[in-house]
Symmetry: C2
Subunit: 142 residues, 2 copies
């Protein structure tokens, strides 16, 4: 049931970027150092976020990444799905990557798996990047 390290990298990067009050650009080297992430790996992660329209990027000196959307409009669920794929515990109950299973109609397991999927999707879907940043900010100062 675990989230990948890659996804953790993505979320932590987004929090760091989202916490910047000036909405400036943050480059790979900076984020990699701050969050202790292998830079070339982080590159792939940020690129994916950029290609998904969550970050925008600028090349050249003082370039880097910044948020493309309002953090309040970015559910954590979107990031998890983007990086890790479906949140459902099994393909047979996945909304985003459903795979038909011949046992579907007689499977006693399906309902409980669907319930798990719904719970995860609800929690991660309701929580936005803005929320997460707020928590992080509060924890730092408080």
């Amino acid at each position: 049931m675990r989230m990948s390290r890659k996804c953790d990298y993505a979320l932590r990067s987004l929090i760091l970027i989202g916490l910047d009050p000036h909405d400036g650009y943050h480059n790979i080297a900076e984020i990699a150092q701050a969050e202790d992430i292998p830079p070339k790996y982080l590159e792939q992660v940020l690129l994916a976020l950029k290609n998904a329209g969550i970050l925008s990027a600028k090349s050249g000196p003082n370039g880097g990444y910044r948020l493309q959307k309002d953090p309040a409009e970015i559910p954590v669920l979107d990031i998890v799905r983007l990086i890790d794929g479906p949140v459902a515990p099994a393909r047979c109950v996945s909304r985003t990557a459903h795979e038909k299973c011949p046992r579907e109609s007689i499977c006693g397991l399906r309902p409980v798996l669907a319930e798990v999927r719904d719970a995860i999707a609800k929690i991660l879907g309701d929580m936005t990047l803005a929320d997460v940043c707020r928590k992080a900010s509060a924890a730092k100062s408080g």
Copy 2:
């Protein structure tokens, strides 16, 4: 966030065994065929369930496995944890395999991950093998 195939095998086997009204022994070959699982792999799975005290086994002709405990006393959560390990989306919020993280106190992500863990544990913890068997049985006849 996905459950392994191995765990799926375990749960399906338990449902098959739990559905037997006579509480008789079910051998590997039989279950493997009924559920379309590689027999030698299933062997490992059933052995783990037996060593965990969920199944009991008998060697020899007409031997096999049967439930050791009342299915109403077997939460699905126990099986998932046994086969797949912690259900938490990250080690830093795991109850069964907690790993300390230096960022713990300032991490904005932790609360939401903990919430996900709690939701999964609640759903899988409340649902017993008996419940799942009941659903399977209803689906078959209805």
